[in-house]
């Protein structure tokens, strides 16, 4: 019996950090670090979706890449299916990676224009030496049907497809090895509005049928709410609030979550949380640079509720558990009556 079948998380991220060194001068002396991901923890159950939302530069994409060890973590641990992948050798990692795949944002640059669809979709199978040539051919046909492409697509090249169809090819490739986890980094943000729903519905059907878990990254809060079971709001490399999707959007407690919600244009029909969010002062300024994040709470320079203790150097705000699974890192969380 595997660990995940005992109600354990499929993915368990613990205090993960990814720092990029800033070098200077002739000898590339390290003079600082961009703290892209600075201590992130979350867990994801099999067949569920964890949504990550935040402004650009908050570290969403780096976190996604670090989960798959496409980016080497500076510190912290990632457990996948009970095994710690952060300390694995490359050979061990290759074996584990069959269970975790990625779908990229840009369906134009993430498909090799010189290869036909059959080669693109079967590439993971060939890399991991799965099946015979004939079996791989059959698997490609099966995958194309799964993602809603005609079987004759196999012989064609990426340029012959529209953006939405290309993203289907990218999803077929990610499904080839029957993964348990797919990390989807802004999978629909480069697609047209009417095509987005097609891809989102496809992803949800795949989850229902194949039990795939997703880490779903998007800057669009409505998308994240719609697609996720659990949501984490990221700011400057930290998750500042996490809860089940509806709980987070109905009872936001971190001032940043509230400010993000208030900024979503045109939701006239908002619930009470939105009503409160609109009365809340709109967010001013831009996200600070993760190379020199503000001391104390990273959000304090933009926060209307900030006090002396939020500014205190070296002290990250304490964690409050407002409801089971609803965590917020803030000195002054909003009451969620």
């Amino acid at each position: 019996m595997t660990v995940s079948s005992m109600g354990q998380p499929l993915l368990d991220v613990r205090d993960l950090k990814v720092h990029f060194p800033i070098t200077s001068g002739l000898f590339r002396k390290v003079v600082g670090a961009v703290r892209a991901v600075d201590g992130v923890s979350f867990a994801l159950e099999p067949g569920k979706t964890f949504g990550l939302a935040g402004e650009s530069g908050c570290g969403k994409t780096t976190l996604a890449r670090a989960i798959l060890r496409l980016e080497e973590p500076t510190d912290g641990k990632v457990f996948f299916d009970g095994a710690e992948i952060t300390s694995m050798s490359d050979a061990q990692l290759t074996a584990v990676r069959t269970g975790m795949q990625m779908v990229f944002q840009d369906p134009y640059s993430s498909l090799n224009p010189r290869l036909n669809v059959e080669r693109i979709v079967s590439e993971p199978l060939r890399v991991h030496r799965v099946g015979t040539e004939r079996e791989r051919h059959e698997r490609v046909a099966e995958l194309l049907t799964t993602v809603g492409l005609p079987p004759d697509a196999a012989a064609r090249h990426p340029h012959e497809f529209s953006g939405g169809q290309r993203q289907r090819i990218g999803i077929a490739r990610a499904l080839a090895l029957r993964p348990k986890l797919i990390v989807a980094d802004e999978p629909v943000s480069s697609l047209d509005v009417s095509i987005r729903a097609q891809i989102l519905n496809l992803m949800r059907n795949l989850q229902d049928e194949l039990g795939i878990a997703y880490v779903f990254i998007a800057h669009d809060l409505a998308l994240v709410r719609n697609m996720s079971h659990k949501v984490g709001i990221m700011y400057l490399g930290h998750i500042v609030e996490t809860a089940s999707s509806d709980e987070l959007f109905l009872h936001p407690a971190h001032p940043y979550t509230l400010a993000l919600l208030a900024a979503v244009p045109g939701a006239e029909t908002g619930g009470r949380a939105r009503e409160r969010a609109r009365r809340f002062a709109p967010l001013e300024g831009d996200v600070p640079s993760p190379a020199c994040p503000p001391s104390g709470c990273p959000f304090h320079p933009r926060c209307a509720r900030a006090t002396e203790e939020c500014r205190e150097a070296g002290v990250f705000p304490p964690r409050h558990e407002l409801a089971p699974g609803h965590l917020v890192w803030c000195h002054h969380p909003l009451e969620t009556e």
């Binding site: 509005v193 729903a197 409505a222 979503v264 244009p265 939701a267």
Partner: protein
Amino acid sequence: MGSGECVLDVRDLATYFFTPRGCVRAVDGVSFSIERGVTLALVGESGCGKSATALSVMRLVPSPPGLIVRGSVKLDGRELLSLSEAEMCSVRGGDAAMIFQEPMTSLNPVYTVGAQVVEAIMAHHAADRRKARELAIELLHKVGIPSPAQRASDYPHQLSGGMRQRVMIAMALAARPKLLIADEPTTALDVTVQAQILDLISSLQEELNMAVLLITHDFGIVRQAADRVAVMYAGQIVEQGSAGEVLNSPKHPYTRALIDSVPVVDAPSGTRLVSIDGAAPNLLDPPAGCRFHPRCSRASARCREFEPELAAVGSDTHIARCAAGGGLRYDC
């Protein structure tokens, strides 16, 4: 809404692109008008002709291959399509200004932002350079750039995306235009910065009593910022009306599907989205009859043959191009 004084009046505008593969009818008989102080949102997916419409109004369509083949564009009663290029130059940035989606590529990277705002001012006022610089700093202050005197000597790459868009807006407003065309002004920006820019545009609109043509694909923005809405599909306007009419009781199946396909932040997790099958048609060879019929769940034999015209649906300000939705021309 505004005082009823019409600033921009576009009638039967058609812009075709003559490519080696054939004639692309990007804008095919588009009519709308915007009054002083009013925002009209032009909504649609990429390739539907919304940007080509805006470029045609400004006469910025690259030619060749593009050509405005017919129609009329009147700004404050003056026909723009018959102006000489020199006359048109004084209209652009003068009575009509435009801001674009990507503020990085729209600014010149080798000049300071101050110099670029000064250039915009001097193009339309015979001010001396020092006076123009003072005016530029005042404008940068007005669009919410902190310490504008220092920022004026920054280069575009030293500013964030939101600040660059503010600089673009400052340049656009240099000559107090009557019409502002904003082509996806916040698409490249984060949601918090987007809210700031939309607020800025609407407060400046109020102050200058401008007509705004807002091009977007985001119904949230439409709901927040627009007084009236025109929905474009395959080069044509398929529905037009007040924001409330179009958003709350859409009459064209495309408008309805487009609204239902977008998740809203107030809907619970797991809400099923309506998807529109297929993709937008190739404008080299648009479908016969109603251009939306291949993707429409309500299409009948009639829709495949006859091209419906815009007809009043419900109120006299609300029009739609649909045989079924309008129910006036071809009842089915």
